[in-house]
């Protein structure tokens, strides 16, 4: 490890102020969590832009800055490969999986496995997903603690515990709504900080060479370092084809279809169409920006080394490049701010995963095994304590991950071990009706067995290696994902062909072939697809116990709505992104144009403000 003097008093203060700000911000939104539905899913109310930015903060973990700037320093622009290969599965996600999870009201991925297959499939999936997520949280804690303990000089494990406590404070009270809003703040901060670092780095290079900074940056990368994709199959630790199968295929499916945290984020969207917009904008525009944010320290470091070899320490390890470059190009205070962005990345990824793990424990262990029916209040209390328990287990796991050679290796081990059986299970479950319950169990158990066999006998992976060199004693790296997917899929397909298919009645609404009927299933009657307007109306309170909003006949006509259709109302101030909103059904119309009658339950849920109008829109 390189010995760098990091952090002034000002930097330490900036980081502490940042933590306090986020904790206060998150705790404030606790008042919007009235039920487990609000706590886990944010009450299905948010606009696409809010979901998009909070997804950024979830996707960019604290390990991303260190991991990608290392590869950027070693290989140049090809470090962006994994951020720019997620579009291939967007059709299946946007029009297959997203409507299924949204309209069937599946609360967790394991619950989907029970509905689609059987309870055994659910329990196996629960186990794998929990292990995956809690381990992932532990890795996030470890990454940030590794950076912070050098700045503050506090022992590593104590730093881990302090970070866990800080994230607990706002999550304990706020749940998903707090997660979304703190992630919104942190998403902006980490994008801004990453771009600021790029700007400062370019300015630094310009000063060194005496020409325009951008030209200095570009001129001091070699043609190989400018290529956006790595060499096809060489070297073993960074090649295109291996990373394509591990990240572009297994990783993309895993992220889009299996990441409980991401799924819950989409379920917090006010509609499926808003979820589609969030997904599309995120992959099309935000991911390329994120790629620059997490990689640029490495590119700047490489250009600095090419132009003036003495500036970065000659003994510097590649994975120290992020801290080293930040230290050189940023002044005191700005360094603290950029490290605070690293904190932002950790906290936003960890809080999403903790909330998701807690949702899985409540939905897939507590509810099914609980003999007595629990009240909403009891479940909410249990969910809050579960999120603390998840963090305690993650903290206990930190020393185990600290024993790996690098965080990169620990992270890779996780992905390759837990993702392929789940990826194959969920993918075949959604898109192949013939895929049976016995086959999914065989995929989980038999596939896992063959994957372990591949770890011990790498020659089994050789037919898939695309010419990638086998590393003595270390086996294959990324290309193992292709073998893992192949054996899991083969087991699933073969067992399906030899077992009796599940009844088509059981599959209703759970495969892509029923998506066209999902709206009707969700609504309980035929969906009204007529496109209407969105009037802005004043609200009045009436004492009425039924879950109905009453509009005037003319406003109903404008919205092309009928009594019984579903409606969404939100505070007309767009920048709230749906925070103050409610879903309901249209009741009997009245004659007072520009007015909607709501009841106390809508008011409590929507937290509407006296005197401020609402915008209404027909859902279906």
């Amino acid at each position: 490890m390189m010995n760098i003097e990091v952090g002034t008093q000002l930097d330490k203060i900036v980081i502490l102020v940042y933590f306090s700000l986020v904790m206060g911000f998150g705790a404030y939104f606790g008042k919007y969590s009235k039920s487990t539905n609000d706590y886990f899913f944010g009450g299905r109310r948010f606009a696409w832009w809010l979901i998009t930015i909070s997804i950024v903060a979830t996707g960019v973990g604290s390990h991303s800055f260190v991991k990608y700037s290392t590869k950027a320093y070693q290989y140049g622009l090809s470090s962006t490969m994994t951020y720019l290969n997620d579009w291939f599965f967007m059709p299946l996600f946007m029009f297959g999986w997203l409507p299924i999870i949204y309209y069937t009201k599946v609360r967790s991925i394991p619950e989907y496995f029970e509905r689609r297959f059987n309870p055994t499939a659910r329990y196996l999936a629960t186990m794998m997903i929990l292990l995956y997520m809690i381990g992932y949280i532990a890795i996030q804690f470890l990454t940030l603690a590794t950076a912070l303990y050098r700045i503050y000089g506090i022992p590593l494990m104590l730093t881990v515990v302090l970070i866990a406590i800080a994230t607990t404070i706002y999550m304990h009270f706020g749940g998903q709504t707090s997660v979304i809003f703190t992630d919104l703040l942190q998403g902006f901060i980490l994008i801004f900080a990453g771009l600021l670092l790029f700007f400062l780095g370019i300015q630094f290079l310009g000063n060194q060479v005496g020409i325009n900074g951008l030209s200095a940056f570009w001129m001091n990368l070699t043609p190989l370092q400018k290529l956006p994709l790595a060499h096809f199959n060489h070297p073993p630790d960074f090649n295109f084809v291996g990373i394509f199968w591990q990240d572009g295929i297994a990783g993309s499916i895993g992220f889009l279809f299996l990441n409980q945290g991401l799924i819950m984020r989409f379920m917090a969207a006010k509609s499926v169409n808003e979820g589609r917009k969030a997904a599309a904008i995120n992959v099309l525009f935000v991911l390329p920006i994120s790629a620059i944010v997490v990689s640029n320290a490495g590119w700047i470091g490489r250009a600095i080394t090419n132009v003036a070899p003495g500036i970065l320490p000659s003994e510097m390890a590649a994975n120290d490049v992020f801290v080293a470059v930040t230290n050189i190009v940023a002044s005191p205070g700005v360094f603290g701010f950029i490290i605070a962005a690293l904190c932002a990345a950790l906290m936003s990824t960890a809080d999403t995963l903790v909330n998701a793990s807690s949702a899985v424990v409540v939905n897939d262990i507590y509810r099914p095994l609980s003999k007595k029916v629990k009240t909403e209040k009891q479940e909410l209390e249990f969910a809050r304590w579960t999120s603390i328990a998840v963090k305690v287990i993650a903290v206990i796991l930190v020393p185990f991950f600290n024993s790996f050679d690098s965080i990169y290796e620990a992270h890779g081990w996780f992905h390759s071990t837990f993702t392929p059986p789940l990826v194959v299970g969920v993918f075949l479950g959604i898109f192949w009706k013939r895929f049976t319950s016995q086959a999914v169990i065989a995929t989980f158990l038999g596939g896992a067995f063959l994957m372990i066999l591949g770890q011990f006998y790498p020659q089994l992976i050789s037919p898939f290696d695309h010419g990638i060199e086998l590393r003595p004693d270390r086996g294959y790296s990324y290309i193992g994902a292709l073998y893992n997917i192949f054996v899991c899929a083969a087991v699933g397909v073969i067992v399906s062909l030899f077992t009796k298919s599940d009844s088509s009645q059981k599959l209703v609404g759970l495969t892509v072939y029923d998506v066209q009927n999902l709206k009707s299933i969700f609504k309980g009657s035929d969906a009204n697809e007529e496109v209407g307007g969105c009037p802005v109306v004043n609200w009045k309170l009436e004492s009425n116990d039924s879950d109905e909003l009453r509009f005037s006949s003319n406003d109903m006509k404008l919205m092309k709505a009928n009594p019984g259709d579903l409606v969404y109302v939100q505070d007309a101030r767009w920048w709230l992104g749906g925070l103050k909103s409610a879903h309901s059904t249209y009741g009997k119309p009245h004659s007072e144009d520009g007015v909607v009658y709501i009841n106390s339950s809508h008011l409590e849920h929507g937290q509407f403000v006296e005197g401020l109008p609402l915008k209404a829109e027909k859902e279906m």
């Binding site: 290529l227 096809f232 998506v515 066209q516």
Partner: protein
């Protein structure tokens, strides 16, 4: 800089990835999950195709620039 470093990864990415993309499009169209008769859905078809071409164009552009430099 040989073919293994420049265009082969590009062809593999958009060849194999392209197959996954086209199969995905066919599945959602044939299952009626995406209905071409819906104006709203039709707009999404263009967005999906645009996204694929957008990424292919970014990668192709950067490869051309790197080779040129």
């Amino acid at each position: 800089m040989d073919f293994f470093h420049t265009w082969l990864p590009f062809l593999y990415l958009y060849g194999v990835g392209g197959i996954a993309f086209i199969i995905g499009m066919l599945i959602i169209i044939r299952s009626n999950a995406l209905r071409l008769t819906f104006q709203k859905h039709l707009k999404w078809v263009w967005v999906l195709i645009f996204g694929f071409l957008f990424y292919a164009a970014i990668h192709a552009f950067l490869i051309f620039v790197a080779i040129g430099s």
